[in-house]
C-alpha cells in the first residue's frame, strides 16, 4: 500500500498514519518494552516485597528450575495449551459455520454459545467444580440413573485434573472464538460461494480449500487470542482447584502471581515471568517475521 505514494519526501510520507500511530508506538515502547526490561532487570535481584537492587546473579533462575512446582506448571501449560488451542479452534469454527447456514434462531444460539464469556472466572470455576464433583455432580447423577460403576472425578484425580480445567476453559472461551470466526465468514465475498457452487464443489470442500485459506487473518487473530489466554490462565485454576490435588494443576502464571504477591518474593516471580516471556518471544519472533516482516501486500 505504502508503495503507492512514492513521489513525496520520505519523512512526509504517510504523515497521518504516523500521527495516528503515536498511541501504539507509546504503548509498545514505553509500556511493553519498558516494563519488560524493568522486570528482567529485577529478576536478577533478591527483591522481596518492594523492588530493590541487590543483585544475586542467576540465583532466582537456579531456584526456579529446581522447584518441582514450576516444572509441573510448565508441563500442565503444554498439555492445556495444545488441547485448548485445537479444541477452541475446531469448536469455534464448527459452531460459526453451522450458525452461518441461514438457520433459524441464529441470535439465540449465538447468545447461548457466547454468554459464558460474560461471567466471572471465580464463579465459573465454582460451578464447574460442583458439576465435576463426584458426590453431587455428573458422576452422582449418572450413578443414580443406575450406572453404578460410572466414575468421573477429574478434579480429584491428579492424572487428569488438567482436563477438568480444560472443560471449563473451553466452555468459557470458545464462544468468543466462534464470534470471531463468524465475523470472518461474514467478511467472505458471496461471489466466492456462488462460484464454488457453479463449479459444483461440495460445501465442505469449499470450506476446507477456499474459505479457510481466505480466513487466514481471522485464524491468526483467534490463534493469538487463544494462545495469550492460555499463557495467562490463572483465575480459572484458582477458582476450580487452587492448583490441586496437591500441585497437579498448577500453571506458570499462578506461580508468578503467588511468588510475587503471596510469597512476597518479587525476584522469583519476575524470574518465572521472564522465562515465560522468553519462550513466547522464541516462538513468536520467527513467526512474526514470516508473517508481517517478510512480504508486502499489493
Amino acid at each position: 500500500m505504502a508503495a503507492t505514494q512514492q513521489p513525496r519526501p520520505a519523512w512526509l510520507k504517510n504523515m497521518s498514519a504516523k500521527l495516528a500511530s503515536i498511541p501504539m508506538v507509546f504503548t509498545a515502547l514505553v509500556i511493553f518494552v519498558g516494563c519488560t526490561l524493568w522486570t528482567v532487570y529485577y529478576s536478577f535481584t533478591n527483591s522481596k516485597l518492594l523492588p530493590n537492587s541487590n543483585f544475586v546473579g542467576l540465583d532466582q533462575y537456579t531456584r526456579l528450575w529446581e522447584t518441582n512446582r514450576w516444572l509441573v506448571s510448565v508441563e500442565n501449560l503444554v498439555i492445556y495449551g495444545v488441547c485448548s488451542l485445537i479444541l477452541s479452534l475446531v469448536l469455534g469454527f464448527l459452531l460459526a459455520a453451522l450458525l452461518d447456514q441461514k438457520i433459524r434462531f441464529e441470535n439465540t444460539f449465538r447468545s447461548i454459545f457466547l454468554y459464558p464469556f460474560a461471567l466471572s472466572f471465580i464463579v465459573t470455576g465454582l460451578v464447574w467444580q460442583w458439576i465435576l464433583n463426584p458426590e453431587y455432580g455428573v458422576q452422582h447423577l449418572v450413578r443414580q440413573l443406575g450406572w453404578t460403576s460410572f466414575t468421573f472425578d477429574p478434579l480429584y484425580n491428579a492424572d487428569i485434573v488438567i482436563y477438568g480445567i480444560l472443560i471449563a476453559g473451553i466452555w468459557q472461551g470458545s464462544g468468543l472464538i466462534m464470534c470471531i470466526m463468524l465475523a470472518g465468514l461474514r467478511g467472505i465475498d458471496s461471489e466466492i460461494w456462488k462460484a464454488a457452487r457453479v463449479d459444483g464443489i461440495p460445501t465442505w470442500k469449499t470450506y476446507l480449500w477456499v474459505v479457510i485459506p481466505m480466513m487466514k487473518p481471522v485464524f491468526i487473530t483467534a490463534l493469538v487470542l487463544i494462545a495469550s489466554g492460555i499463557v495467562k490462565v490463572y483465575d480459572l485454576v484458582v477458582a476450580q482447584t487452587s492448583g490441586g490435588p496437591g500441585i497437579a494443576s498448577e500453571v506458570p502464571a499462578k506461580y508468578v502471581y503467588d511468588k510475587m504477591f503471596q510469597a512476597q518474593n518479587l525476584g522469583q516471580g519476575f524470574a518465572a515471568s521472564t522465562m515465560m516471556l522468553l519462550s513466547v518471544v522464541v516462538i513468536l519472533i520467527p513467526w512474526a517475521y514470516l508473517q508481517f516482516g517478510g512480504k508486502r501486500r499489493g
Binding site: K48, L49, Y156, T241, G244, G246, F261, Q262
Partner: protein, 410 residues
C-alpha cells in the same frame, strides 16, 4: 440481623453527615463476609463516634488480592489512612523504606506494653524499638472439630485426642465416613501440618525449627514423628472431595466426616447450622494432646501521609483499636480473641472460653507468619500440599525437603 445492619448503616451515615470537621481516613481491609463486616462496623462506629470519619475500602482476599492493591497505593504516593496486614514479617520492608507511620508515641501513651497480652503480638509490630502497627485480635489454628453424629453412626466414642481419632479411623471408614476432612486448597493442608507439628513434636522442638530454624531438629526424630502422623492424616483425609474449608466443615456438621483441623473461624459455621458445642460437636485445642494455641492475628498499619491532620487521626485510630471498649465489641462479632487480658468476655461461647483460658495460662506460641518469611511459608505450603496428595512421596523424603527449606531461611 439484617434490620440491625441496616439501622447501623443508617446511623453511620447520619454520623458522617454531621461530622463536617472530622478528619476522613480511608481504611483498607479484607473483612467482607457477614460476620466480619459486622465486626468492622464496630470499629467504624467507634471511630465515627470519636469525631472522625471512617471511609471503608474493603477488598476481599487476603494475600494475593489485597496485597498488590495495598502496596500499589502506597507506592503511588497516595496511600490509604490505615490498612490491615497480618502482623509479622510482611511489613518489614515498608518500614525500612520509611513508608509506615511510627506509632511509638501512641503505644507509650496507651501503655500497650503493659496491656497487650501476649506481649509477643506487640513485638511483632516492633522494629528497632519502634512500634509500627496496632494489633487487633488473635486467631488461633490449633482446633480439632469433631462431629458427634459421625461417631454415633460409626458406634465409637467421640475421641478426646488425636490418637483416639486415628484409632477410630477404620470404624469411621467402615461406616462410610471420611475420618479427617481436609479441603484441597494448599493453605488448608499446610495449616493442618503446622497444627500437628506443634501438637506432636511439642513446643520445644517446634520452636527449634520454626523460630530458631535449626535444620538438625527438622531432620530429627521428633519431626519424623510429625511426618509419620501427617502420613496417617493424609490417608485419613484422602476421600475428602471438597475444595473450600467450609465445605469440609460442612462435612463435619452433617456427620459425613469425623473431624477437621481448622482455625477458630470454623466456629461460625457450626453456629450458623444451629449446633451446640459439647452436644453436636466438640472442639479440642492443640488436638487434645498439647493444649497450646498460636497467636496469629490481624494488625493495622498506617502509611505515612503528608497531611498533618490525617497523621493525628491515624494515631487516634490506632489508640482506639487497642482500647478496651473496641476490643470487646470487635472480637465478640469477629469470633476471635482480644489482644488484652484486662477485659471481660463473659458472652463468649465455650470454645472461645477454652481459648481464653489457654491464653491466660500463657501456653502460647507465635504464629508461623510471625517467625518465617512469607516466601518460606509458601514453600512449605507447596511441599505439604504436594505430600498430602501424592502418596508416592514418602514421609522421609518430605521431611528432607522440609529441612532444606528451613535451613535456607535466613
Amino acid at each position: 440481623m439484617k434490620m440491625i445492619k441496616t439501622v447501623l448503616a443508617a446511623t453511620v451515615a447520619l454520623g458522617l453527615s454531621q461530622a463536617v470537621y472530622a478528619t476522613e481516613l480511608e481504611v483498607t481491609h479484607w473483612w467482607t463476609s457477614g460476620g466480619e463486616a459486622a465486626a468492622v462496623t464496630e470499629l467504624a462506629k467507634a471511630f465515627d463516634a470519636s469525631g472522625d470519619k471512617w471511609k471503608d475500602g474493603a477488598i476481599a482476599g487476603s494475600g494475593g488480592t489485597a496485597r498488590p492493591i495495598i502496596i500499589s497505593r502506597i507506592m503511588g504516593g497516595d496511600p490509604m489512612g490505615a490498612t490491615q496486614l497480618n502482623h509479622g514479617k510482611q511489613a518489614e520492608e515498608l518500614i525500612a523504606a520509611g513508608l509506615l507511620l511510627d506509632l511509638t508515641e501512641v503505644a507509650e501513651k496507651e501503655k500497650w506494653r503493659e496491656v497487650i497480652k501476649p506481649v509477643s503480638l506487640l513485638d511483632s509490630c516492633t522494629v528497632n524499638g519502634k512500634v509500627y502497627c496496632a494489633p487487633l485480635n488473635i486467631h488461633s489454628w490449633q482446633w480439632l472439630w469433631l462431629s458427634h453424629k459421625a461417631f454415633a453412626d460409626a458406634k465409637v466414642e467421640v475421641p478426646k485426642n488425636w490418637d483416639e481419632l486415628v484409632a477410630a479411623a477404620p470404624k469411621l471408614e467402615a461406616a462410610g465416613k471420611v475420618p479427617l476432612a481436609v479441603g484441597q486448597q494448599p493453605w488448608q493442608s499446610a495449616g493442618v501440618f503446622n497444627v500437628m507439628a506443634i501438637a506432636i513434636a511439642g513446643m520445644d522442638s517446634w520452636k527449634a525449627v520454626f523460630v530458631d530454624k535449626k535444620a538438625e531438629v527438622a531432620t530429627g526424630a521428633e519431626f519424623a514423628k510429625v511426618f509419620a502422623a501427617a502420613d496417617q492424616a493424609r490417608k485419613m483425609s484422602a476421600k475428602t472431595n471438597v475444595q473450600d474449608w467450609n465445605q469440609a466443615t460442612n462435612l463435619v456438621i452433617t456427620g459425613g466426616a469425623g473431624g477437621q483441623i481448622m482455625g477458630d473461624w470454623a466456629q461460625g459455621e457450626f453456629q450458623l447450622a444451629n449446633q451446640t458445642a459439647g452436644k453436636d460437636y466438640t472442639c479440642l485445642p492443640g488436638l487434645g494432646v498439647n493444649e497450646v494455641i498460636s497467636t496469629g492475628g490481624d494488625a493495622f498499619y498506617f502509611p505515612v501521609v503528608k497531611d498533618k491532620e490525617k497523621t493525628e487521626a491515624q494515631k487516634r485510630l490506632a489508640a482506639l483499636m487497642v482500647s478496651q471498649q473496641v476490643q470487646v465489641a470487635f472480637n465478640l462479632k469477629k469470633g476471635s480473641l482480644p489482644v488484652r487480658s484486662d477485659i471481660d468476655l463473659n458472652t463468649a461461647n465455650d470454645c472461645m472460653k477454652k481459648g481464653l483460658k489457654i491464653l491466660a495460662d500463657g501456653k502460647i506460641l507465635p504464629d508461623v507468619n510471625q517467625t518465617l518469611t512469607p516466601d518460606t511459608v509458601t514453600q512449605i505450603e507447596d511441599l505439604i500440599v504436594e505430600f498430602w496428595n501424592d502418596q508416592k512421596i514418602s514421609p522421609a523424603d518430605a521431611q528432607a525437603r522440609f529441612a532444606k527449606i528451613i535451613s535456607a531461611e535466613k
